[in-house]
Symmetry: C2
Amino acid sequence: MRGELRLTAGKAAAQVAHAAVDLARRAESRDPREFQTWWAGGQRKVVLQVRTLDELEDLERKARAVGIATAWVEDAGLTEVPPGTRTCLGLGPAPDSLLDPVTGALDLL
Amino acid sequence: MRGELRLTAGKAAAQVAHAAVDLARRAESRDPREFQTWWAGGQRKVVLQVRTLDELEDLERKARAVGIATAWVEDAGLTEVPPGTRTCLGLGPAPDSLLDPVTGALDLL
């Protein structure tokens, strides 16, 4: 999540849920076995924050370079941010061995 | 969401995302056409809060009585709440005409 947007908790949660649903659907159709491993393991989700859009774009590049699925969330902008604002980036599901080098230094939201 | 649990924004977002993924998967297998309508319409998600678990259980009864799908989220309790705590209840997807009478009086999270 872009922490500097200072979204309300509910708005932030909706953005994260958009990314999660998108990534889960893609994972299930792309690799059902990997999806089931993630699902059976409690569908772990960790919500982290960055300070700027640049940081998020940098994360996307790093994730793609190692084959982690990514999903941008753009807000329709009806309430808290201008239309089309990129509010968050979803990554995964992926094993910790892939994710940790990309996201391990970020703070929790 | 149970507002009285005072979860961090990130923790709350993860709980909401659990409910969203669960409900989206069930909707897609149960009624692909209704799911596509929701998906194409921007996959709208609204995050609301109640004050107590009793209120959430009451919402579940009301939702089920009119055929709205429901999904409980229990937290594994590794960090902010005891293991097995019911943190939130997901409802839908469903048309506004069904949801509004059940959730219309609640505050946004």
